[in-house]
């Protein structure tokens, strides 16, 4: 009964918050947990298999991929697709998933879990599978230190029965091996792919004897084929990608002799896809099912998202830490075409208040002729600009424009595509701004049909149940539209 009240309270809070114009995706979860402190235990009761995905980079993409693959194979799933990955986010997904009365029965729960929230999530709802992707220096201000974090995560798993899907290439992740659970090691074969080189900022020391690790092959950051004199080294893989090939339409992987194609772009997605394949195989999906469904996978917002603006293909990618930013930059510079680089940095709690990590990004590699202009944006635009200056980028090429909207407008004025890296809280506003710019273009091209235009204005109003505004909006939309048409020569 308590749980039912929690669901109702959560649903009501969610609707109220939407009416108030908030997008807060975790509010239903916050409320539900206020009513029922161990709300998450119901997830365990009403789901056959619970999967958690954790680690620093790639959680959201991997979670979405796994959810998509399982759904595509006909499984009933529950997932926190929006990347709301704290305990409240999981609770919110549960509220959202529940019907008005009782619970929906699901085959699999696919939940992205923030590293620091894992112990709490595990104690309320122990998972059957845990995917541990990687550990990079990330938002240390929230988490304390990586060492401490890993130990706390491991402690929480000691007493439960769980199968671990571990990244064989990450010495930090390998530390989960001494929990003596059933492990599936996943990794990239040596020379499976060519990640461009950049300086490494992670510590590459053996967790047992503290000597420096030697690498026969480095993929990126501390990920690769490592070995220590004390015997600690990369474990033998159970699932291995022998080859990763990049094409303009996505990436192709050869995993244990079988080929998979995905529209996800960017070398860094190799790990995400590989983890998704491994997990789905554990859940008894066949290779051909996975192959068939993988082709139809879509990326999440702001993950190498493309926008057609002024006839140029702009790109937007989320960055949270040096390792991710470095991979993003090397993806950006795969093409040698002339471009602009925009770096949007906020320092809200979700971004990390401590922005010192930007000094560990290899921005030096962005100092090239093909980048004609740099824009530093966001609340910490001045810090970004300084970082660029100390990367050797000529000051006259650096523009400081804190407002995201103005930064985009400025970049639009040039005839080159903008490649944008943005921290978490810059992402949603940017997706909004860029989508609008893109739609603007579409309307100009396909202007004859008023329906898509009107629906753009009406839809958010339906959502907010403010019908009385409808007439007003139609009028505004119409005026705006005729206004624009009049301006055309």
């Amino acid at each position: 009964m308590k749980a039912q009240i929690a669901i109702w309270a959560g649903k009501t809070a969610g609707t109220l918050s939407k009416v108030m114009g908030n997008s807060g995706s975790t509010i239903p979860g916050v409320v539900a947990r206020k009513v029922d402190g161990s709300f998450l235990r119901h997830l365990r009761k009403h789901t056959n298999t619970v999967v958690y995905i954790t680690g620093t980079n790639g959680k959201t993409t991997t979670t979405n991929l796994i959810a998509h693959l399982l759904e595509c194979s006909g499984k009933r799933i529950i997932t926190n697709r929006e990347g709301a990955n704290m305990v409240t986010g999981i609770a919110a997904a549960m509220v959202h998933n529940a019907p008005l009365l009782g619970w929906a029965k699901n085959d699999v729960a696919v939940m992205e879990v923030d590293e620091a929230s894992l112990p709490k999530a595990v104690s309320d709802c122990p998972p059957d599978y845990l995917v541990v992707m990687n550990f990079f220096r990330d938002q240390l201000d929230r988490y304390g230190e990586v060492d401490l974090l890993i130990e706390k995560m491991k402690d929480s798993l000691k007493t439960i029965d769980v199968k671990l899907i571990l990244n064989a290439d990450d010495p930090f992740v390998h530390r989960f091996s001494d929990l003596n659970k059933e492990n599936v090691y996943v990794g990239l074969a040596s020379n499976a792919c060519q990640f461009p080189n950049y300086s490494v900022s992670e510590s590459k020391y053996c967790p047992h004897c503290q000597s420096e690790l030697t690498y026969s092959n480095i993929h990126f950051a501390q990920l690769g084929h490592y070995q220590c004199t004390c015997g600690f080294g990369r474990p033998r893989t159970d699932v291995s990608a022998e080859k990763v090939i990049q094409s303009p339409n996505g990436i192709r992987l050869v995993v244990d002799g079988e080929e998979y194609v995905t529209p996800l772009k960017g070398m860094y997605n190799a790990y995400n896809v590989l983890f998704a394949i491994s997990l789905c195989k554990e859940l008894e999906m066949t290779s051909s099912e996975i192959r068939k469904c993988l082709v139809k996978s879509q990326r999440a917002d702001g993950r190498m998202q493309e926008f057609m603006i002024n006839g140029e293909m702009w790109r937007l990618n989320l960055v949270k830490n040096p390792a991710g930013a470095n991979v993003t930059l090397s993806e950006f510079f795969q093409s040698k075409q002339k471009k602009q680089l925009i770096f949007c940095l906020n320092d809200n709690l979700a971004d990390g208040e401590d922005i010192s990590w930007i000094w560990d990004i290899d921005l030096e590699m962005a100092n090239r002729l093909e980048v004609e202009s740099f824009i530093a944006s966001g609340k910490r635009a001045h810090d970004v600009a300084l970082r660029m200056k100390y990367a050797g980028i000529p000051e006259e090429k650096i523009n400081i424009i804190p407002s995201l909207k103005q930064a985009v407008t400025h970049a639009k004025g040039k005839n080159t595509p903008a490649y944008i890296m943005a921290t978490y809280t810059c992402l949603a506003p940017l997706v909004g701004i860029l989508s609008e710019e893109q739609n603007l273009r579409e309307e100009e091209t396909f202007g004859a049909d008023p329906v898509p235009l009107l629906s753009r204005y009406i839809k958010p109003i339906w959502g907010q149940r403010k019908y009385h505004l409808l007439n007003e909006t139609v009028r505004m939309a119409w005026n705006q539209r005729s206004g624009r048409r009049n301006q055309e020569p």
Partner: protein, 221 residues
């Protein structure tokens, strides 16, 4: 390094992985960073044979910058939350004691020598000493959250919790370290740089965080 490069001063950076690297370096400026407790203990053990050398550098007026863990381990010991005393390098007589809450915030410091200093602090340890400091904390916590002072400034050695990072937004400190070393080596004074971007960045942070309230974060979750 960039600021030396811009002035045409050649710099060589030597990463110290074992004591011999340091002994042969003949350094003009030294820098010790921080790490996790585990990494810090390893580093301190490895640096032990160098303590005499570093002490001599400090007394000779070699420029030194030590941050967070590097700063804490200049002292005699670091007492962990469990009461365990980790031995420091003992370069200067002072100590640090860890507490549960983490001091984690944007910090503003008013310094007689360096003017307005801005940065980010993130430390569980509270440091207590009687040496001159970098300056008074205007907002944030500083050495121990009580004394209202931040950092340590002894001869040309600076210890600080500002890892945010300290030098780019406070070029006056970077130039102090470089300037002392340059003068010591060549007898000449350092030419100033325009630093417009640096000054605006410093001012922006100062104005933004002047009236915010810093909160302590619980270490355990």
């Amino acid at each position: 390094m960039k600021r030396c490069e811009w002035r045409g001063i050649n710099v060589r950076v030597v990463e110290i992985k074992n004591p011999d690297d340091a002994k042969n370096s003949g350094c003009d400026i030294f820098m010790i960073g921080g790490g996790s407790d585990r990494e810090q203990a390893i580093a301190t053990k490895r640096l032990a044979p160098l303590v005499k050398e570093i002490k001599a550098w400090v007394e000779d007026g070699v420029s030194g910058l030590t941050i967070c863990g590097g700063y804490q381990f200049l002292g005699d010991y670091y007492e962990t939350k469990t009461g365990e005393k980790l031995t420091g390098m003992g370069i200067l007589p002072f100590y640090t004691k860890a507490e549960d809450s983490r001091l984690m915030t944007n910090i503003l410091v008013e310094s007689q020598t360096f003017g307005r200093i801005v940065g980010f602090e993130n430390h569980g340890g509270r440091t207590y000493h009687h040496f001159p400091t970098l300056g008074k904390v205007v907002n944030g916590f500083g050495n121990n959250g009580e004394s209202g002072e931040e950092g340590l400034h002894y001869h040309n050695l600076i210890g600080t919790y500002l890892h945010g990072p300290i030098l780019p937004k406070n070029p006056q400190i970077a130039d102090y370290l470089i300037g002392q070393a340059y003068e010591r080596k060549t007898g000449r004074k350092l030419e100033p740089l325009p630093d417009e971007m640096e000054k605006i960045a410093n001012q922006t942070v100062w104005e933004r965080f002047l009236n915010t309230k810093p909160t302590k974060y619980a270490n355990e979750r």
